[in-house]
């Protein structure tokens, strides 16, 4: 009896009990699909966090005021920010961009759009915050000095206000003042949390102060270090300057000084990146564990179906042996059946996971980890093969009459 003939027997065996075959396939499908998709979700959320932080720029520091009352002595102003740009006291600082932000509504030819973040800053902000301009240009130092009302808008703003129209050069109204759009930002990949990173508008600091916020303290100061390895030094340098300017008592800092008493806070993107990616790693490990459990459960399901069928198949094997089937032929047939079911189920599981990963799952875009495909497929197919063929091999070794009497 040749191999082709045996394979035809296997196909017939698989199709003879369609429900059983379908259940086995489904068990493997779910096991494989769940593992791949869960790992992909974990990986995707980790990627999202790193992307988000990388989007901030890894060699930037953000200085924010912590005092709520806005006592004039501790408020961070444009002057405070300017003081940070000091080649002698702060040699590792490349650029300093004070930032004021407001929410504002932009109007263009009757259409209006309420922009989430309306930012006033220096041109260095584009580089420091990693928000390059896509079309048109950024504004210049001179624009800031002159307080020119020019505007760079994010992708979302451009799509909302200028559907199918070139925004650069258009005149829009913000808070009753006329601004000229000079550029559109490149699309930012990750949306940070509930905020749309592309729903921004950036204008010269002076123009925003004039029209929207007034000349009070700034919201934050974005400081760019000379390099990603100079971040810690830059942080120490600007801390010294700030302590000096804001008259923070350094006397008590040695023992038990309350960090909350400091009127400012410096956020370090690379530190953030580290802690966040650690969290993301934990998350991936957790999801991996869940995936492992689902693989186990799927495996038990497969095992169960395979074992439940053993009684019936053992009798069948007894009949086949009684009719003159050699052990080898029976083994080949059952191995082929198990292979077909496992591979079909595994393949469909991979396909299901690939399709599922195209959708956003709980706000996360899954990113497939190739090794998880290999692992899930390998384990499920191995389980299917093992439990599909081991009982068969045992039954094939029995005397026909014992196999026929098996209960």
């Amino acid at each position: 009896m040749n191999l082709f003939e045996i394979l035809r027997f296997a196909v017939r065996g698989v199709t003879a009990n369609k429900l059983r075959s379908a259940l086995t396939t489904l068990g493997i499908l779910i096991g494989v699909g769940a593992v791949i998709l869960l790992v992909a979700v974990g990986n995707g959320s980790a990627k999202q966090i790193t992307d988000r932080i990388a989007a901030l720029g890894t060699n930037t520091l953000t200085v924010q005021s912590t005092s709520r009352g806005g006592a004039s002595s501790t408020a961070i102003t444009v002057e405070t920010a300017e003081a940070l740009r000091d080649p002698v006291l702060a040699p590792d600082v490349r650029s300093v961009s004070p930032v004021v932000s407001a929410s504002a509504t932009i109007t263009y030819q009757g259409a209006d759009h309420s922009v989430q973040q309306f930012v006033g800053t220096y041109p260095t902000y584009f580089g420091a915050s990693n928000t390059p301009v896509g079309t048109g240009t950024a504004f210049t130092e001179e624009d800031v000095a002159q307080g020119r009302r020019v505007l760079v808008i994010g992708r979302t703003v451009a799509e909302e206000l200028f559907p199918g129209v070139e925004p650069v050069g258009a005149e829009v109204t913000v808070g009753g003042s006329l601004f000229t759009v000079v550029g559109v930002l490149e699309e930012k990949s990750s949306s940070s949390g509930f905020q749309d990173a592309n729903d921004v508008a950036i204008a010269p600091l002076t123009a925003v102060q004039q029209t929207l916020t007034g000349y009070g303290p700034v919201s934050s100061v974005v400081v760019e270090a000379a390099g990603s390895d100079r971040v810690d030094e830059a942080q120490a340098q600007i801390a010294t300057i700030l302590d000096q300017r804001l008259k923070v008592s350094t006397t008590g800092s040695g023992n038990g000084s309350n960090p909350n008493s400091s009127p400012y806070r410096i956020q370090n993107a690379s530190q953030l990146l580290e802690t966040q990616s650690e969290t993301a790693d934990t998350f991936t490990v957790l999801l991996g564990a869940v995936a492992g459990i689902s693989l186990l459960v799927g495996g038990i399901g497969i095992t169960n179906i395979m074992l439940v069928t053993v009684t019936e198949r053992t009798r069948e094997i007894g009949i086949r042996k009684a009719l003159g089937a050699p052990r080898r032929v029976i083994l080949t047939q059952f191995l082929a059946e198990a292979t077909m079911l496992s591979l079909t189920g595994g393949g469909l599981g991979v396909a299901a996971a690939l399709i599922g990963s195209r959708f956003t799952v709980v706000g996360v875009k899954p990113v497939i980890v190739p090794s998880s495909i290999a692992l899930a497929l390998g384990v499920s197919v191995a389980i299917g093969l093992f439990f599909g063929s081991v009982p068969a091999s045992r039954a094939a070794g029995l005397r026909p009459i014992d196999a026929l009497r098996y209960e």
Binding site: N17, I319, R320, A322, L323, G324, P326, R399, P400, L404
Partner: protein, 268 residues
């Protein structure tokens, strides 16, 4: 060649020069052990020559099926020797046993043992497939065998769509399709009405007339009386062994040709 069961007539010689088909010596079979041990066979001696037609009768539980399973190479005895065509079966390996079961013996189970969810035709084709017969030829012969037992119209039916008697006839067709030299049938007429029984016996008579050795188990005296030799089993031992002048004797096959049903002539 008349049909699938028609050749092999040259093997009709009864022994001279050939070893007996079956040679069973002091065969015992014990199921279980200790207190619960069941002595199903207690020293059976039996020699069956080529071309013989043997019926085994005996009360339920007397060990008929046990003996048949051992003779059919499906089970092994607890002690004693069993020579099949002069060969000690206990010395055969798995591959050789498979060959014996496939080529030499046609076995009809008391419980039919058809493969579930598989058509009657596929069930009958199965032994031919294991014998390596090409698909087209297999199909032709399987259909012929089904036709012989009067089930040509049920070829596509699965076992659970067939009546008990029809399943039994499929099982007979499956045992005969390989044209085995030795036919072992465990109550092949147990589920049949008198007319189907007569058809079935006709088939066996013709097979025997064509030189095949037949051993069948039965509870029905009229079936037993058709055989040339009647063996009675009682409590695991042979209690009677008589030669009889059954209709399957010398003129049997000729007489059968007069019957309208299930004759060999119908087989292409």
């Amino acid at each position: 060649m008349i049909g699938p069961l028609g050749n092999g007539a040259d093997d009709r010689s009864t022994g001279s020069g050939h070893p007996p088909v079956l040679d069973v010596r002091e065969l015992t079979k014990v199921y279980g052990e200790g207190e619960a041990a069941v002595h199903a066979l207690r020293g059976v001696n039996l020699v069956v020559e080529r071309g013989d037609y043997v019926a085994i009768m005996g009360s339920s539980g007397s060990g008929k099926s046990t003996l048949m399973n051992i003779v059919g190479c499906l089970d092994v005895p607890t002690s004693g020797r069993y020579l099949l065509d002069g060969v000690d079966v206990s010395r055969l390996n798995d591959r050789q046993l498979a060959l014996v079961r496939n080529r030499l013996i046609g076995f009809v189970f008391q419980a039919f043992n058809l493969i579930p969810r598989t058509s009657a035709l596929a069930n009958v084709e199965l032994p031919l497939a294991y014998a390596g017969v090409p698909a087209a030829e297999r199909r032709r012969r399987a259909l012929a065998a089904l036709d012989m037992v009067g089930l040509a119209g049920r070829a596509g039916h699965e076992p659970n769509q067939l009546s008990g008697g029809q399943q039994q006839r499929v099982a007979v067709a499956r045992a005969l399709v390989t044209e085995p030299a030795l036919v072992l049938a465990d109550e092949p007429t147990g589920n049949l009405d008198s007319r189907s029984t007569a058809d079935m016996l006709t088939i066996f008579d013709e097979l025997n007339a064509a030189g095949r050795t037949i051993v069948l188990i039965t509870h029905e005296p009229e079936v037993g009386s058709r055989a040339r030799r009647l063996i009675k089993l009682f409590d695991g031992q042979i209690s009677a062994d008589v030669r009889q002048d059954g209709p399957a004797g010398a003129g049997g096959a000729d007489r059968m040709l007069d019957q309208p049903t299930a004759t060999m002539e119908r087989i292409p």
